[in-house]
Symmetry: C2
Subunit: 250 residues, 2 copies
């Protein structure tokens, strides 16, 4: 049993201690052992420790302090730039300027990211994923000099924890698992599966803070609104196209 | 150090032995501990063991025998169906019918998948990811009764290994890692980074089998062709739209 997996909690406060090269290398090596489509390894990892560059990243990541505080920021990118260059140097014509290739490269990047996180936690480090990467992909690409055919997919901050939160609540396993085929949810079933979440102390606190009548409204009205989602959908799709991944016609 | 991570090899031949409920539950639980955007858990896992349904999946996955052979087939899905239903039952209007939400849910599904794989390998099982999931998303969704707002992202077959392959070769770590910012590759650098891969015994064998002059051509001309990529890009985008994730205007 992997203790790192079962003890995982996102860490949002970090000690100033740096991560040794030895441990960082182990983490990156772990990332590189993840499965990758056809062993193409169509992803890259940008390891940022420079405080100045981290400050620019912090701005893009909605000024979440952990980006400045954590000693290491890893940006995992879908990357066909390296592979395409290799093809062109070998009399091969790459056909990877399309959405499927972007999505394939995203999968590579994300499996590598999760390996890195588990190895980091196995070495006493804390991590947190930043969802802001897809919102601000073009800005982040600018800061990190990402060339065409490279798109940032997710970011992980990493360092020694300066907090010790409890495990995050999860829905009961039966909420996310289906046997043999998908069993769609009745209203009753949804109410049952979300009952604990809807009635937790944390939820009561959130309803008060946000002045809402249900936890779901905290999500739809405050945290993940349609307006933001539509805005960021457009900017992400535009950027994917700009990076050369939307030539979906022969 | 996580041995499961560093010893990972994709397994394509399986013993008929089933996976015990206890171990399978541990694996699913491990999946559920992965980070998820805003703790929304917008993914589902379909666990298929029924031989008849596995046979239909096998057809969709280009008849790769391991789909029939492995006792368990896990289909990881981007899933806003459950979350949207919960919103609607709680006077909240979900705004998750757009590309960003699909991509967010894909990230959730993939981090959970990698956790499941590591936990499986930690318990002596072998795994293999199937890239065919995105090619055949609509077909697979049909077999598994996936409703609107659910898209299959990746598939993992799982069971006790009946082969013991060596570790897969990887590019040197410096090929995929960049410090502080992305350092683009010169032609010389590409040649250097791919030298070992281009000149391995495996490559020599592949060039002979495929009658090609470079390994890159094996990828561009045979394995991952522009024609296929364009075709599957269109069908994947069409299906994402059909499932309700392409309303990117307010």
């Amino acid at each position: 049993m992997s203790n790192a997996i079962f003890n995982h909690k996102s860490i949002r406060k970090y000690k100033p201690d740096t991560i040794s090269d030895e441990i960082l290398n182990k983490i990156l090596k772990a990332a590189s052992r993840a499965s990758t489509t056809g062993n193409m390894q169509v992803y890259s990892i940008v390891v940022t420790t420079d405080p100045k560059i981290k400050e620019h990243l912090w701005e893009s990541h909605f000024k979440q302090d952990m980006v400045k505080q954590a000693p290491v920021v890893l940006t995992f990118c879908a990357d066909f730039n390296r592979f395409n260059k290799w093809c062109e140097l070998n009399n091969a014509t790459p056909g990877y300027d399309n959405f499927l290739s972007f999505y394939t490269a995203s999968i590579d990047a994300l499996l590598a990211a999760q390996n890195a996180c588990i190895e980091a936690e196995d070495n006493g480090l804390g991590i947190c994923y930043l969802g802001t990467t897809t919102y601000m992909a073009e800005k982040i690409a600018g800061i990190l000099d990402l060339p065409k055919n490279v798109v940032p997919v997710t970011t992980v901050v990493m360092g020694y924890p300066d907090e010790n939160p409890g495990l995050t609540d999860r829905l009961p396993l039966e909420a996310i698992v289906h046997y043999d085929k998908y069993q769609d949810y009745s209203d009753e079933k949804i109410k049952e599966l979300y009952f604990e979440k809807d009635n937790s102390e944390l939820t009561k606190q959130l309803l008060k803070e946000n002045n809402k009548e249900s936890l779901a409204q905290v999500f739809t009205d405050n945290r993940y609104t349609k307006k933001d989602n539509v805005f960021f959908s457009k900017s992400l799709l535009d950027f994917i196209e700009k990076q050369g991944f939307m030539n979906n016609e022969e």
